[in-house]
């Protein structure tokens, strides 16, 4: 079977983008290896760990088990897309302020999943936050600081989407700069 690339008309981080990729490539592969958006992480690569979580039409989605061609016609937002000209997403700030990481590998997926949660439940309780992040595995923090970071975002202006200028230099994993 010859493997041909197809033209996919994606919409990523607020802008339309045409990208050529074979039909069997996942959304995560296209994001990382075609668009060089390496903030979304390739962990288990089979939908167990949540490190690849992106937003599709505002809902959390595991990009490692989503075909890129299946994302055509939908708005995809990655961890990089949470940073706008107005500054960092509130959650990107609070994850830094709370020190909600050790190795940082799960952090992009955690922040994106938390964003999906707060967009639907701006005043999410601790129990709702824990439930919303149940598809995201962290092997080092023990989760406590992660939940605290999301709670901090809930408290701070009841999770206004854009947080304004960062008070401190953000870690590379929170903004998606870490590859």
């Amino acid at each position: 079977m010859t493997v041909e690339s197809k033209l996919l008309r994606l919409h990523v981080n607020g802008a339309p983008i045409d990208v050529a990729a074979p039909a069997h490539w996942t959304l995560l592969e296209v994001l990382r290896y075609r668009l060089l958006l390496t903030g979304s992480k390739q962990g288990c690569d089979k939908g167990d760990c949540g490190a690849c979580t992106v937003l599709m039409d505002g809902r959390a989605r595991l990009s490692c088990i989503t075909l890129a061609a299946d994302a055509v016609g939908h708005r995809v937002t990655t961890i990089e897309g949470l940073v706008t000209s107005a500054g960092l997403d509130k959650l990107q700030q609070t994850f830094d302020e709370a020190g909600a990481l050790q190795c940082g590998f799960c952090q992009p997926g955690m922040i994106v999943a938390a964003r999906a949660c707060l967009d639907r439940k701006p005043e999410a309780t601790r129990a709702e936050i824990k439930e919303a992040l149940a598809s995201n595995l962290c092997r080092c923090t023990g989760y406590t600081k992660i939940f605290e970071a999301v709670e901090q975002a809930v408290r701070a202006g009841k999770a206004a989407h854009i947080g304004g200028p960062a008070a401190m230099a953000p870690t590379a994993s929170a903004t998606g700069v870490a590859r």
């Binding site: 069997h24 939908g47 595991l62 598809s135």
Partner: protein, 343 residues
């Protein structure tokens, strides 16, 4: 990194178009709904389709509604592409089939439920610790009966595959006596979910290569003067992402005085089909669903005929000991959820 093998991908815009593609490609095609089961399996090389048919655009297969056949009967009609997240939070499901809302909520974690569909869960492939592994891993062991090999690693000398049904909603739908509407280019047929599964771990569904599960129909409770209840309980390692090590669904009716009239108990994650436990109605009749001594007797009955194998994680003897515990929890979950609303 787990790469997919090359295939073509199409996204039909109508059910008829999807059925036409299935009729044309048959066994060379693989349907993909939410992808949460099919995609990892594809990455593990369990299927080698030439074409993958994406069902995500088929809005006509999505949604929950009450359909009334006549003055008395009502049916909860659920499109196969309705996501598990929609099922668990849908007011009609919570009201008329609370156990189904519980079972949908018990599937994996929230992101998987936002993606995964009811139809996908009903058509979930069977699972086994020896098959849900990478191609390299399976090849190193000479493969197995279910795919590419001739030996079973669970039952020594076994000639039939014992991979287990692991779909939470199927257990509950069997207890609720749901029916499935299956469509193909040849027409539509209806089959009771209790007859849909067959005892073959290689492929446990009575579904032809050109057929597609279109709708799940759950009988809604009728006004009887009594009440209808359903509850689900699941044994798993963690409360978030895991497949069941034991899946138990209970459905029962009570009379005006609160005594049990009829009861159904289904246990799964044991063999290729969910298992309807016989004799439960006789044992339960006249008793109360929160009578722990009665629930212990029901659990004992279920345990007698439930023999977990080593094909699912978790010690098999321990899983068997847990059967009465989860039978009890299923009945208590039904009581806690409250009686279903009659239509």
């Amino acid at each position: 990194m787990l790469r997919l093998q090359p295939f073509d991908f199409v996204k039909p815009q109508s059910v008829d178009e999807a059925l036409g593609l299935l009729a044309k490609h048959g066994r060379n095609a693989k349907l993909i709904a939410g992808g949460t089961d099919v995609m990892p399996n594809l990455k593990h090389g369990l299927y080698q389709p030439e074409i993958v048919i994406g069902l995500a655009d088929l809005a006509e297969l999505r949604g929950v509604a009450i359909e009334r056949d006549n003055q008395e009967d009502g049916t909860l009609a659920i499109g196969a592409m309705t996501t598990l997240e929609e099922i668990e939070s849908h007011p009609l499901v919570i009201a008329h089939a609370p156990g189904l809302a519980q079972a949908a909520h018990a599937v994996a974690g929230p992101t998987q439920r936002t993606m995964g569909t009811l139809g996908g869960n009903v058509c979930l492939d069977t699972r086994c610790v020896w098959i849900n592994q990478t191609h390299f891993w399976r090849k190193s062991l000479g493969f197995c009966l279910k795919k590419d090999g001739t030996a079973c690693h669970v039952v020594e000398g076994g000639k039939s595959c014992v991979a287990a049904a692991s779909n939470d909603t199927a257990t509950m739908l069997c207890a609720l006596d749901a029916t499935l509407v299956i469509r193909s280019a040849r027409g539509a047929r209806t089959v009771a979910i209790r007859d849909f599964y067959k005892p073959d771990g290689i492929f446990n569904q009575r579904l032809e290569p050109d057929e597609l599960l279109a709708q799940v129909r759950v009988p809604a409770p009728r006004f009887t003067g009594g009440a209808t209840w359903s509850g689900y309980a699941k044994l798993r390692a963690r409360a978030s992402i895991d497949f069941p090590k034991l899946s138990v669904a209970a459905a029962f009716t009570t009379d005006a005085a609160g005594a049990i009239d009829d009861a159904t108990l289904v246990v799964s994650a044991i063999a290729a089909t969910p298992r309807l436990i016989s004799g439960i109605a006789e044992l339960a009749r006249g008793g109360r669903a929160d009578d722990l001594a009665l629930l212990a007797r029901l659990g004992e009955r279920a345990q007698k005929v439930t023999v977990p194998l080593t094909n699912i994680d978790g010690d098999a003897a321990w899983r068997r000991q847990m059967v009465p515990v989860f039978v009890k929890r299923a009945f208590l979950a039904a009581k806690a959820a409250g009686a279903a609303t009659a239509v």
